[in-house]
């Protein structure tokens, strides 16, 4: 299953240390692991568990940020600016990659992290190591496209912060509770139609 989905910055942000990444959206599916398998028999308080979860997300964001930077540096490709309405082109131009998160970095078990970097932002999925990556990759692309479209992310607005319920809804449809769906185009259409109704309200 998918552990979490996040949207975060991969470029420099004013007031943020170099190498840091600002997390704009994150959804963690499932409980904080430390609740179920306490480390050294120490049961963490709910506050501590939440903090731990936030820190894990931040670690992933930093790792992806550095991976994106290295990958862009290596490819030497010039970033193509895309504007509102060019969401499909933005996805096609996006850099993508996948990496292993080793044990303890930051989860107890091994995980796989997939990222899609559109200009200054990355859309990131963390999955279990046995997950079907072809499916995850396709789902991530689809989710990213919908985020760009429904939150007008190629523009300069702040919908990603203020209308984050839209991301919640599109995740809930396309990847319910973190389950990747083998949905053919007809299933997807039906899910998307349902989603568009929500966005229209």
């Amino acid at each position: 299953m998918v552990q979490c989905f996040l949207i975060h910055t991969v470029g420099p942000v004013n007031g943020l240390a170099p190498g840091e990444s600002r997390v704009l959206y994150s959804q963690v599916f499932g409980p904080e692991q430390s609740a179920l398998t306490p480390l050294d028999e120490i049961q963490l308080e709910p506050e501590q568990r939440r903090l731990l979860q936030k820190e894990r997300v931040a670690v992933v964001a930093r790792q992806v940020r550095s991976a994106v930077t290295l990958s862009r540096e290596a490819s030497g490709r010039v970033l193509v600016e895309t504007v509102l309405g060019e969401e499909l082109a933005a996805i096609q131009e996006a850099d993508t990659g996948v990496q292993r998160l080793g044990r303890g970095e930051p989860w107890v078990g091994e995980k796989t992290v997939l990222w899609l970097a559109v200009q200054g932002l990355a859309f990131t999925l963390v999955t279990e190591p046995h997950e079907n990556l072809l499916l995850a990759e396709g789902t991530l692309k689809n989710i990213t496209r919908h985020c760009l479209e429904h939150l007008r992310m190629l523009g300069t607005g702040s919908d990603v912060l203020l209308k984050s319920d839209r991301v919640d809804v599109l995740l809930h449809r396309l990847m319910p509770h973190g389950l990747l769906l083998f949905a053919n185009h007809r299933f997807t259409q039906s899910l998307e139609k349902d989603m568009t109704n929500y966005m229209a309200k």
């Binding site: 499932g30 609740a35 290596a74 990556l133 984050s164 509770h177 389950l179 007809r186 299933f187």
Partner: protein, 820 residues
């Protein structure tokens, strides 16, 4: 995309004061009391979520507000309100306090969002078990204890929720639960209707009407040939078809979790029987492949499985489902998205078949022909490269049981894919995951694995930052006595391989006439027939065509301009750590002859490296470290290779360009060129070594300015050699005494001069007592092995320090004139 406005919103949300926040809370509470929730509520909840989410530390909401939000989340018919309240509640914590103990009851009637909230705030495994019981009861169609616990969520949502629960806590489901769900999965997977569902305006969340249209279609538009799968399309779907989708999406995880390894292994007798049947049925199946029959064979070959126990039955049905998917994937999809889904389904199907066969070897004879023909169909189509990796896993796990020769698979997976698809990050990742998970098996039972190491290194050369940690894990399995030397050269030339791969891609992308390629001398060289051999060697796929080439320095010259390409620099940065892994492994697999060759390669390659800033120094450092280790393990290597080591140590140029390595070579000579290390060590050898080093020392102190490190290591080595051949003592003592008289003008600082003079004095005093000098400078193995050194790299055992302190005090009273 990310604007200053967005950043300032986050700042505002973080900086909001307690007073303002409480005002905001009471405003929301007031808004929530009205019966009709206006747009303002939505707006307030969105802001509240932002405030809570952008803070690292959690805030607790006032008890009353929390209660209202939860009740809204459970009861609202407006989805946006449910979603927003859920989002807010996830970011906060349930109110704490003795009478504020939330139980599952408080989240009922349970809807999909509330269930997600329960999971996300679960504090122990018990919370998940309780939830899974509720979900399972609803699946089973039985009424829960008390109407309030009856969930109010669509059937489809139970599957993803259960998927989450079993990911985190598989034992939350009892054996009965597992059986119930296994039975359900069979029904949904295998017996979903093939009639089209009815289109309804509200999507699948609203209740479907009864009217049925025609049958569903295959992806190529033809009429559905067999039972329903996720690769069947229809304008709309019925609930059982949706359940089919959800069930298949869960299936592999379910099988891995509850069907692997826990139920006793079949006895050897039955396994042998299975193999007999197998060989018969394989030939049978092969014939049906040749017929090329289009009609689905899946249902036709389905055994009457009604009598099987639930788990076996699910396995049986999974196998049929996957076989059908493999058939369906051969159809030409009308939509691009569906073509991608076909590939994902192929991967999933092969993985499921693999786990089914691992569990029940009897299935191999039915699954293997399908996978084999799939491989036959796909192996020449690179767009299916990602499917080939799970096929390779299948062959690795079951090829032997099926008595099938897997060589063609390895030739494709390692011979072709890395060379053609080295720049695909996902394929690289999957390939490395596969190798990492199976490296022991591959090393021991698939000889082609190590044979293809030059190809496998291409993934690393292309994307070293994300793959280096995987290579650290798998490199030891590639190091064998047969590959060791060639692998060492390949690792050292990894940056060259990166450059060559870049050129290969550019050369393929840019037409010869393109101006983009001009000005790149390396690209012209790459295309020139004169240098073809060099590049072909670099880009070779298989081991065994020689360890390295003669004209390596020419190749380095051609690639000189690549030394500042970021990708090349990245790949160079990964080499030192991999070399450490390599040397740590190679000592375990090689004999003395091979180790001797490794020493030679180090000496030779120390000056034959691509000229990347700091790369050479890094490599020299690694060489130095491992030269010591190798010689310590096998001291006789030094006598064996004394000619080459002396040649290296005799070149004054090396003193300056490779100080690190040079110092270590000198130290190794002094330490191990002795009879106690190797009885073949003759006086002549010691003398010739002494003379070579003496000449270097004279030369560099006369005309250059050696660092104190070089000077002292040369001095120490000369003293060591002299202590083993007493004729040499006067010669070194003469030099040492000169030092004492202050001829160290080549030292840059006072501190350096003191260091050199002190070392000189110590050695000089020691050599005055030759027998003591021998026992100190060439200590018996016992003395050197027991950790008496303060510094592992200077062989002055504790005895030397004691003696020095004695002689040093003595010296103060001895007039200098007494010493020649």
């Amino acid at each position: 995309m990310y604007s200053a406005g967005t950043e300032s919103l986050i700042k505002q949300a973080r900086d909001i004061g307690e007073v303002d926040l409480h005002k905001f809370y009471s405003r929301i509470s007031k808004q929530l009391t009205t019966r009709e929730h206006s747009h303002d509520v939505i707006d307030s909840l969105q802001r509240l979520h932002l405030i809570l989410a952008s803070n690292k530390y959690s805030r607790r909401l006032p008890v009353e507000l929390h209660r209202r939000l939860l009740s809204l989340c459970l009861s609202s018919s407006v989805e946006q309100l449910t979603v927003l309240t859920l989002a807010v509640l996830r970011e906060t914590l349930p109110p704490s306090g003795p009478e504020q103990n939330y139980t599952l009851q408080d989240y009922c009637p349970l809807n999909s969002h509330a269930a997600a909230l329960v999971i996300s705030q679960a504090g122990c495994k018990g919370d998940l078990s309780a939830l899974s019981s509720v979900l399972l009861r609803s699946l089973d169609g039985r009424a829960a204890e008390g109407p309030s616990l009856t969930p109010n969520l669509p059937l489809t949502q139970t599957i993803p929720l259960l998927n989450t629960i079993i990911t985190y806590s598989p034992d939350s489901l009892s054996e009965d639960h597992v059986i119930v769900l296994s039975k359900k999965l069979v029904d949904w997977l295998r017996y979903a209707s093939v009639q089209q569902g009815v289109s309804s305006s509200g999507g699948f969340f609203s209740s479907p009407r009864i009217r049925q249209l025609g049958t569903v279609a295959e992806l190529d538009g033809s009429v559905c040939g067999d039972f329903f799968t996720v690769l069947c399309v229809s304008p709309s779907f019925s609930e059982d078809q949706w359940m089919n989708l959800y069930s298949f999406s869960l299936l592999r995880h379910w099988l891995i979790t509850y069907h692997s390894g826990n139920e006793g292994n079949p006895s050897t007798d039955t396994a042998a029987d299975g193999r007999l049947v197998l060989s018969f049925s394989l030939s049978h199946e092969d014939r049906s492949e040749v017929d090329g029959s289009v009609v689905s064979m899946v249902s036709a070959t389905s055994s009457s499985s009604r009598v099987l126990p639930p788990k076996e039955r699910l396995r049986e049905k999974s196998l049929e489902y996957c076989q059908r998917l493999l058939e369906q994937s051969d159809r030409k999809a009308l939509k691009r998205a569906d073509a991608d889904l076909q590939k994902a389904c192929l991967v999933e199907a092969v993985c499921i078949l693999d786990s089914v066969c691992l569990e029940d070897a009897g299935c191999v004879y039915r699954a293997f022909p399908c996978v084999k023909s799939l491989f036959g169909r796909l192996n020449s189509d690179l767009s299916y490269s990602r499917v080939l990796v799970p096929i390779a896993q299948f062959y690795l796990n079951h090829g032997e049981t099926a008595a099938v020769d897997s060589e063609c698979v390895w030739r494709c997976v390692w011979g072709v894919l890395p060379a053609e698809c080295f720049n695909q990050p996902y394929l690289a990742y999957e390939m490395l995951s596969f190798i990492r998970a199976n490296q022991l098996l591959l090393q021991n039972s698939v000889p082609l694995y190590t044979h293809y190491f030059p190809n496998l290194l291409k993934f690393l050369a292309w994307d070293s930052p994300s793959l280096v940690s995987d290579y650290i894990d798998v490199l030891p399995s590639l190091v064998t006595a047969g590959t060791a030397l060639e692998l060492l050269h390949s690792l050292l030339d990894l940056p060259c391989l990166t450059a060559a791969l870049t050129l290969q891609l550019r050369s393929a992308c840019l037409p010869l006439s393109d101006p983009g390629g001009r000005g790149l001398t390396s690209l012209e060289a790459f295309r020139s027939p004169v240098y073809r051999g060099l590049f072909l060697f670099l880009l070779r796929g298989e081991a065994g065509s020689g360890d390295t080439i003669d004209r390596l320095s020419m190749l380095h010259d051609l690639l000189l301009e690549a030394s500042d390409w970021p990708r090349v620099i990245q790949s160079a940065q990964s080499v030192p750590v991999l070399l450490h892994v390599y040397f740590n492994t190679v000592t375990e697999v090689s004999d003395e002859r091979l180790l001797a060759q490794l020493v030679l390669v180090m000496l030779e390659r120390s000056s034959l490296l691509l000229n990347i800033p700091t790369y050479q120094e890094e490599i020299h450092r690694v060489f130095s470290y491992h030269l010591l280790r190798l010689c310590k393990l096998h001291p006789s290597v030094v006598v064996d290779q004394s000619r080459e080591l002396l040649e290296f140590a005799g070149m004054t140029a090396n003193v300056h360009s490779k100080e690190d390595l040079y110092t270590h070579v000198v130290w190794v000579l002094g330490e191990y060129l002795s009879v106690s290390s190797d009885t073949r060590c003759s006086v002549d050898l010691i003398t010739s070594c002494f003379e070579t080093l003496e000449a270097v020392l004279f030369e560099i102190t006369f005309s250059g300015s050696p660092t104190p490190r070089i000077a002292t290591s040369l001095l120490s080595t000369l003293a060591k050699l002299a202590s083993r051949s007493h004729d040499l003592i006067p010669r070194v003592s003469l030099f040492l005494s000169k030092l004492r008289s202050g001829t160290v003008s080549w030292c840059h600082s006072e501190e350096d001069a003191v260091a050199v003079v002190t070392r000189g004095e110590e050695l000089w005093s020691l050599l005055k007592l030759p027998s003591v000098a021998l026992s100190v400078l060439t200590p018996p193995p016992l003395a050197s092995a027991s950790g008496w050194h303060r510094d592992a790299n200077t062989a002055l055992p504790v005895r030397l320090r004691t003696l020095t302190s004695l002689t040093y005090t003595d010296l103060k009273h001895t007039p200098l004139a007494n010493t020649h």
